[in-house]
């Protein structure tokens, strides 16, 4: 009963649920519970960074001045844009506009990849500037400030963990896009797009916390 050019939208009932409504609620709650766990994971890391900033303000400030603020800022914009395209995909999935939805998902994956590329470029620049203190056999630029070493290492831990999440997210998104481009997907699994959207927005949100904690706060 769908309008021309759109496909039917719905969720196919899995055997162990009583109703589709119950199944949808379970899936959404499951993702929120997972994100809660993830939030606590990153919270511990950010807390460690902030404690360090209290203990050694000068060293942390000096180290933070060497971070590539503008790459970080550009990446923030890139990720916010990717959340916009992801929201577009969710809206279009609700309307049953499968082609538009798939395009939005591809755009989201592309923006995510752009973020990783920029991040990689940033890591490369850091390497050139001898800002990789965890590499034991490479001289370190800020050797006179021992606590700066820890801040830079934590910067790698936090951004690395975030990048890992983003990388996993892009991989899942591509698989999902492939599934979602098949006919009949929206009639059976529309809620997967919504659930996945929650995860994507969450990765975005983590960066929006990481960027001020690492780059902005210490300038």
């Amino acid at each position: 009963m769908s309008a021309p050019g759109t496909s039917e939208v719905g969720v196919r009932l899995a055997g162990h649920f009583a109703t589709v409504e119950q199944q949808r609620r379970a899936a959404v709650l499951g993702m929120w519970a997972w994100l809660l766990t993830e939030l606590l994971l990153f919270a511990g890391l950010f807390l460690t960074v902030l404690v360090l900033r209290l203990l050694h303000p000068e060293a942390v400030q000096e180290a933070a001045r060497h971070l590539k603020f503008w790459i970080g800022a550009t990446n923030t914009v890139v990720l916010i844009a990717s959340s916009l395209t992801m929201s577009g995909a969710i809206q279009l999935s609700r309307l049953g506009w499968q082609r538009g939805m798939v395009r939005c998902m591809l755009a989201t994956a592309a923006l995510g990849t752009l973020f990783l590329a920029l991040k990689g470029y940033e890591y490369h620049a850091d390497y050139e500037e001898h800002l990789m203190p965890f590499l034991g056999d490479r001289p370190y630029a800020l050797d006179r400030l021992p606590a700066s070493r820890l801040f830079i290492n934590l910067y790698y831990a936090a951004t690395g963990l975030h990048a890992l999440h983003l990388f996993t997210g892009i991989a899942i998104l591509l698989v999902l896009t492939r599934q979602a481009s098949r006919p009949g997907f929206l009639a059976a699994h529309q809620n997967r797009i919504e659930i996945y959207g929650l995860y994507w927005h969450f990765i975005d949100l983590i960066w929006i916390m990481a960027f001020p904690v690492l780059y902005v706060l210490n300038r």
Binding site: H16, A33, L41, G44, T48, V51, L150
Partner: protein, 559 residues
């Protein structure tokens, strides 16, 4: 011949003269399929519970054998039985295996997995594949930990304190850390599944205040799984990075702080105590009304006490650091908050006792374990208050007093609850009854063996014997021998159930659907339950624990 379970296919290699095996009842979850594949790739919550039960029993044996070796070493005061290194590795393996591979998954991953869907009237957990994945994640973590043991062991103690674990230990710390980190994810997945299932999968009419307390305590436990486990994941990842790359986070030379690890560690590991204790409290709350034939006293208080414990426990981690240079103000706050834990704990104990009061008691095996639990939990809990007192803590910190205290909670509490629950639901799990007299004998042996093992340790600790040393002043030898002797009684008490329970699987009497005349939806289905739990739509009881004897509170309620 009702409900014949033959497949009906002609097998080429079969003699057609021999009739197919038949089942004289409805096919249950154990008999639905027989292949190895149907076990290792099952998504049935009941089969996954059995997989967990088999795995954690294996880990319990490893943990128990290392405990036995530790007790053996402590029979003589001069530390001649093992080298110092071996002794350090033994108590580390004991702690790591018992905490992370037995106690934490013990009740939730087995009984919780099996019973929560049955108790709330659901066909399965919300995410059956995730449930299976959690078992594989668990086994992967276990693999790494066992690898570290096989390669030569770890000597840091189960707490992995820095700087010993980062700068000084020359043992296989990293594989052990990876194992514990990975196992955390299996807890997270189990907790996530429970939270979603309890929120969304309850049968029509099964409101929150009709849920068994077992479900409430598992809900509280799952919240801890979700909120605390990621923090230790992070702490252990930082520890791995520290050991592998010297990132400096726990090293003062680089501006880090070794005590920061303790904060992150105990932010999880104190709540983890309630991961171990709360499910046990759920088990006791099921057993006590069933064997007192009486409605659970103060249902809502017991339910709220579970949530209360799960909440307060997030704010007491600092009581592990009273002597580690924490500020006096922080210590004072943590001390007061630790005292607050006693309130919901006492609510539970008083309500169980009030349920027993004027009940019609049947002292069957599960009830013996439950009563043992209540007594030992009170002792363990009260000595917790001693330890939360700042002045006394200075005296007994890191002595055997602490060891005795947490074994009263972990063994006297959790292990007794586990065994009580195992006997209570064994007919449901397997469809067989065990021999009751053997059950009672081993319950007594465990209670006596436990007390002989651990009560002397309170005295040893109070007299000043530090934990984690195998060389000690000769005047402590008598109490140490007493403790080691007790552990042999305890061992016999553990071996008995392993024998008669396994025996009952093949030779036990067939169990009826409800052998204890207990309330709760899990007793309305056959023993063992059918593959999809409920053949007819489950009907939620209007009153939970609707046993014949009612407490006066309900009578007042009617007036």
């Amino acid at each position: 011949m009702s409900g014949s379970a033959t497949t009906g296919d002609a097998h080429a290699l079969r003699d057609p003269g021999i009739p197919h095996a038949t089942l004289d009842r409805e096919a249950d979850y154990l008999h639905a399929e027989h292949t190895l594949r149907s076990w290792f790739f099952t998504t049935d919550h009941k089969r996954i519970a059995i997989l967990y039960l088999a795995s954690i029993t294996a880990f319990f044996v490893i943990g128990a054998v290392t405990a036995g070796l530790v007790r053996l070493a402590l029979v003589v005061p001069d530390g001649q039985v093992f080298t110092n290194d071996t002794y350090n590795k033994l108590f580390t393996i004991h702690g790591v295996v018992m905490v992370w591979f037995f106690l934490i998954p013990s009740i939730p991953a087995t009984f919780g997995n099996f019973l929560i869907p049955l108790m709330i009237g659901a066909r399965d957990l919300a995410f059956p594949k995730l449930n299976l994945a959690s078992w594989y994640v668990f086994m992967t973590g276990a693999f790494f930990t066992l690898v570290s043991v096989v390669l030569g062991g770890v000597d840091t103690g189960w707490t992995f304190y820095t700087p010993l674990s980062t700068a000084f230990s020359n043992t296989w710390v990293v594989p052990a850390l990876i194992g514990v980190t990975v196992v955390g994810f299996s807890s997270i997945l189990t907790g996530l599944n429970f939270v979603v299932t309890i929120h969304t999968m309850r049968a029509p009419g099964m409101t929150w205040f009709r849920l068994p307390i077992f479900v409430w305590t598992h809900y509280a436990t799952s919240l801890i799984f979700l909120l605390a486990t990621p923090v230790i994941t992070l702490a252990l990842v930082l520890l791995i990075l520290e050991r592998a790359f010297h990132i400096g986070v726990f090293d003062p030379a680089y501006g880090g702080d070794p005590v920061l690890f303790q904060h992150l560690f105990w932010f999880y590991s104190h709540p983890a105590v309630y991961i171990m204790v709360l499910p046990g409290m759920g088990v006791i709350s099921e057993i006590v009304p069933a064997f007192a034939r009486k409605k659970l006293f103060g249902y809502k208080f017991v339910a709220y006490a579970a949530i209360g414990l799960a909440s307060v426990t997030f704010f007491v981690w600092g009581h592990h650091m009273f002597v580690n240079g924490q500020s006096d103000l922080a210590s004072l706050a943590f001390s007061v908050l630790s005292f607050a834990v006693a309130v919901p704990s006492a609510v539970k104990v008083y309500n169980w006792t009030a349920t027993i009061h004027k009940g019609s008691l049947r002292l069957d095996t599960p009830m013996l374990y439950a009563m043992g639990y209540i007594g030992l939990f009170v002792l363990g809990g009260l000595t917790g208050l001693y330890l939360a007192t700042l002045a006394i803590n200075q005296h007994v910190h890191a002595t055997y007093f602490v060891v005795a205290h947490f074994h009263y909670i972990m063994v006297g509490g959790t292990v007794l609850a586990f065994l009580g629950g195992l006997h209570f639901w064994w007919p449901k799990f397997t469809g067989r009854m065990y021999v009751e007299s053997w059950g009672r004998i081993s319950a007594f042996l465990i209670f006596i063996g436990f007390n002989v093992t651990f009560f002397p340790q309170f005295i040893l600790g109070y007299l000043g014997m530090p934990r984690r040393y195998h060389v000690y002043p000769p005047e402590f030898q008598f109490l140490n021998i007493l403790s080691s002797a007790g552990s042999t009684i305890l061992a016999v008490g553990y071996i008995f159930p392993m024998v008669y329970l396994v025996y009952s699987i093949w030779f036990g009497k067939r169990a009826p659907a409800n052998p204890w005349d207990a309330r709760g939806l899990e007793w309305t289905v056959a023993s063992p339950p059918p593959a999809h739990n409920f053949l007819t739509e489950p009907k939620a009881p209007e009153i939970p624990y609707d046993y014949p004897i009612q407490a006066s509170e309900t009578q007042r309620h009617h007036s």
